[in-house]
């Protein structure tokens, strides 16, 4: 239990991490974390946690982020790491 108290990641399933390209897509649109947070209705720190892949979003939040960034969910999120620059 002590190990869990020290752990800071909030992945829904640490065995199956969810990778994303939120930061890249956000930068392309010139949005700040606060801008994106306001668009999808979450705290700006939640965007930071998502970008660092320390938190896996619910399907609803993933859909809202995809819509805000004009992307498909499958373009933004993946169960395998994205290749750099793609």
């Amino acid at each position: 239990m002590l190990h869990s108290i020290y752990a800071t990641t909030m992945s829904r399933n640490p065995e199956e991490p969810v990778y994303n390209r939120i930061e890249e897509a956000r930068s392309t649109l010139g949005l700040s974390r606060q801008d994106l947070a306001d668009k999808v209705g979450v705290h700006y720190q939640t965007i930071g946690y998502l970008e660092r892949e320390e938190y896996s979003p619910s399907l609803v939040l993933a859909l809202r982020i995809a819509k805000a960034l004009n992307q498909e969910v499958s373009e933004l999120f993946s169960q395998t790491p994205f290749k750099k620059g793609k």
Binding site: M1, S4, I5, Y6, A7, T8, M10, Q34, G41, V42, H43, Y44, Q45, T46, G48, Y49, Y55, P57, S58, L61
Partner: protein
């Protein structure tokens, strides 16, 4: 234009405006409390305060050891009690501010990650509370001054106060200790 009323969440002990102000990043008030190191110092101070409170029934013993007259002893005892309880309450207030009241806020004021963080903190706090109560119970039974359920024993009311502090503060303490960014 009519001003929106500040909703009070009686059960959680927070107000809508209070939580929203603390969650607002532009609010620079008490920002110095937010770094994890400062939050952890607050958690340690709070834990120390709770230990001191739980030892309340031993304060008369300290008084006796100082060989004070009964009148002066009572004043020293009362001032000590007021000071320690006031310090713990202040510490608890700072702790709530340090975690932006997320541990006490209702779902409708939080996003899904904050709700997950709050729920996880409560889960661990519940387990820790069990151990805290176990410790207090051991003190109740075996503490020389206390000896609960014994005719010559003390009433142990400070243990109840310490247990109340633990119940109220543990979720915020767990969150303040665990979270990197709040």
């Amino acid at each position: 234009m009519m001003r929106k009323r500040n909703k009070i969440y009686w059960f959680e002990g927070v107000t809508e405006k209070g939580v929203k102000d603390l969650l607002n990043n532009d609010n620079s008030k008490f920002r110095w409390l937010r770094p994890q190191r400062n939050r952890r110092i607050l958690v340690i101070l709070m834990a120390l305060g709770m230990v001191l409170t739980s030892m309340g029934s031993y304060w008369p013993t300290l008084k006796t050891n100082l060989n004070l007259s009964p009148g002066v002893g009572l004043i020293v005892y009362s001032v000590t009690a007021i000071f320690i309880i006031f310090a713990v309450v202040v510490c608890y207030s700072f702790l709530r501010i340090a975690v932006r009241s997320i541990a006490d806020a209702p779902d409708e004021l939080l996003d899904e990650r904050q709700i997950a963080v709050r729920n996880t903190s409560f889960r661990y706090a519940y387990f820790i509370l069990g151990y805290v109560l176990l410790g207090l119970m051991v003190l109740m039974f075996f503490g020389p001054e206390l000896q609960m359920f014994q005719p010559e024993g003390n009433d142990g009311s400070y243990l109840v106060i310490a247990a109340l502090f633990a119940t109220a503060a543990l979720p915020s303490m767990v969150m303040a200790w665990r979270e990197r960014d709040i």
